[in-house]
């Protein structure tokens, strides 16, 4: 691994991630131990995101469908932005105590606002004529939400999920403050790991966030209905006749 020497501290950190070392206290740190921390980090973020999605997507769709309580749905994300994640975690630690469940609850609260707001906005942006048309075709209200509004709102909903997921992964870094060992452990409990371990953890957290963003962007593209993709990309849209008589020649 001497080839990484030119990277200085970054080279050391990358070596730390892949090979690990033994700390002064004799514990194995880095290497496979980082894999465990990463798994814990992903597990915590995943559970929090799953719960947040189960709550906020149906709530946002419903609020958007009945087109009421827009104040609640819109201001949710404004309030969410104003409350610092560190303050939220600290509040939970001080009032409810440390532990996986309490921390998950805090992260769920953190993740809800962007998904809720985006689901709401996504549904309200659906053309009312499309909804009327589906109603005229005899769809029930539930069917309208599920088969018309949800697919058309999907791109925005995924946008909200992306924002929340990246934010939750970032915040899971301070999880050791709430007694859960994630990739934040080398950052918060720096004495056991040293500067190299801390830099290594920062690299892994950053990679995890970028990877999540890329994966969710791919999922977003896959989930977007074909009609919307065509609309968003005018060059691929089937050319419509602009003047009478032209249609026959194309």
């Amino acid at each position: 691994m001497t080839t990484l020497a030119f990277l200085g501290q970054f080279g050391d950190a990358i070596q730390f991630i892949f090979q690990g070392e033994t700390s002064r206290e004799g514990a194995e740190i880095g290497g496979s131990q980082f894999l465990e921390l990463t798994w814990e980090h992903v597990k915590l973020s995943g559970v929090a995101m799953a719960i947040a999605c189960l709550i906020s997507i149906p709530a946002g769709l419903w609020l958007g469908h009945i087109r009421r309580f827009s104040f609640v749905a819109i201001s949710a994300s404004n309030v969410g932005r104003a409350v610092p994640s560190l303050a939220l975690i600290a509040f939970f630690v001080a009032y409810l105590g440390v532990g996986f469940a309490n921390l998950t609850l805090a992260l769920v609260l953190l993740a809800i606002p962007p998904i809720l707001t985006n689901s709401y906005v996504g549904v309200t942006q659906v053309n009312p004529e499309s909804v009327d048309a589906s109603r005229g075709m005899g769809m029930t209200e539930t069917e309208i939400v599920r088969k018309v509004e949800l697919p058309l709102a999907l791109p925005l909903i995924f946008g909200g999920i992306k924002t929340s997921a990246v934010n939750v992964i970032a915040t899971a870094t301070i999880a050791p403050l709430a007694g859960v060992s994630t990739l934040g452990d080398p950052i918060i409990n720096v004495s056991g790991y040293g500067d190299t371990g801390r830099l290594a953890a920062a690299i892994v957290v950053a990679s995890l966030a970028v990877l999540t963003e890329l994966l969710l962007s791919a999922a977003q593209r896959a989930a977007t209905p074909r009609g919307i993709k065509l609309e968003a990309n005018p060059s691929r849209r089937r050319r419509l006749p602009t003047r009478i008589g032209r249609a026959a020649s194309t």
């Binding site: 200085g8 932005r81 104003a82 560190l86 303050a87 600290a90 001080a94 040293g194 920062a202 690299i203």
Partner: protein
């Protein structure tokens, strides 16, 4: 460099009702007696936020103006600032430490990087939403492209630009609570110093929320002041 967080010492909680404090409770009398210890972190927090938003706005605004006439630049700028937006700032603080060292510089660079996408996207959207008829009218009146930009397009884009500024500011207030990891202090350092003490957490966290709301309101007020034509329309 070793163990810099050890510098964050547990606070001395002497003064106030002993039992409430021993229970880590919410003690109004302790808060009243100890408000002064939050002044310096609050001022530092304000400084970090304003400096980061000002620099971030200057850079993103310039990038948006450059990309306004060279449309092909929008996609690459969005991608690069998008990556900066995705990187967790707490990780960026430590990635920057070997390069910029501990202190305000590292914190501000990370916070600026985070705000670029928000502001750039909003300025670009605002400029794009100016109706082409309005621009044609301006050209018809003999405005040059530069005059058109500053007298027609930018004023009409102000609502979106200000909205971006508000989002960037409230987000930066929140992220600045983590700036103490980069050695830049702020309200987060107070929270971290005694995270089990309810009084401390409520006051330090509350101050951050109040600051976000206050700055948001100030920008809204500024927007109201510099867009008299919007008021004329609604009146």
């Amino acid at each position: 460099m070793l163990a810099p967080l050890a510098q964050v010492q547990l606070q001395d909680r002497s003064s106030g009702e002993a039992s409430c404090i021993a229970d880590n409770g919410f003690c109004p009398s302790w808060i009243a007696d100890n408000l002064d210890r939050y002044v310096d972190p609050f001022v530092q927090h304000v400084f970090l936020t304003l400096a980061s938003v000002a620099v971030g706005f200057a850079i993103a605004f310039a990038l948006a103006l450059i990309a306004h006439r060279r449309r092909w630049l929008i996609a690459p700028i969005t991608q690069v600032t998008g990556i900066m937006y995705t990187l967790p700032s707490i990780a960026v603080f430590f990635l920057l430490l070997p390069l910029t060292g501990r202190g305000n510089l590292t914190a501000i660079v990370a916070l600026v990087a985070y705000s670029l996408l928000i502001i750039f996207r909003n300025v670009t959207t605002g400029l794009d939403n100016v109706p082409s008829e309005t621009k044609d009218a301006g050209r018809g009146m003999g405005l040059t492209e530069r005059q058109l930009l500053w007298r027609v397009e930018l004023p009409l884009a102000l609502p979106e630009i200000m909205a971006g500024l508000r989002i960037a500011t409230t987000t930066t207030v929140g992220l600045a609570t983590l700036a103490f990891f980069a050695g830049a202090g702020g309200l987060g350092e107070q929270i971290f110093a005694d995270i089990n003490f309810k009084s401390n957490v409520v006051v330090a966290g509350g101050l951050a929320v109040v600051l976000a709301a206050l700055l948001d309101g100030l920008i809204l007020l500024a927007q109201w002041a510099i867009t008299p034509w919007m008021r004329a329309r609604t009146a």
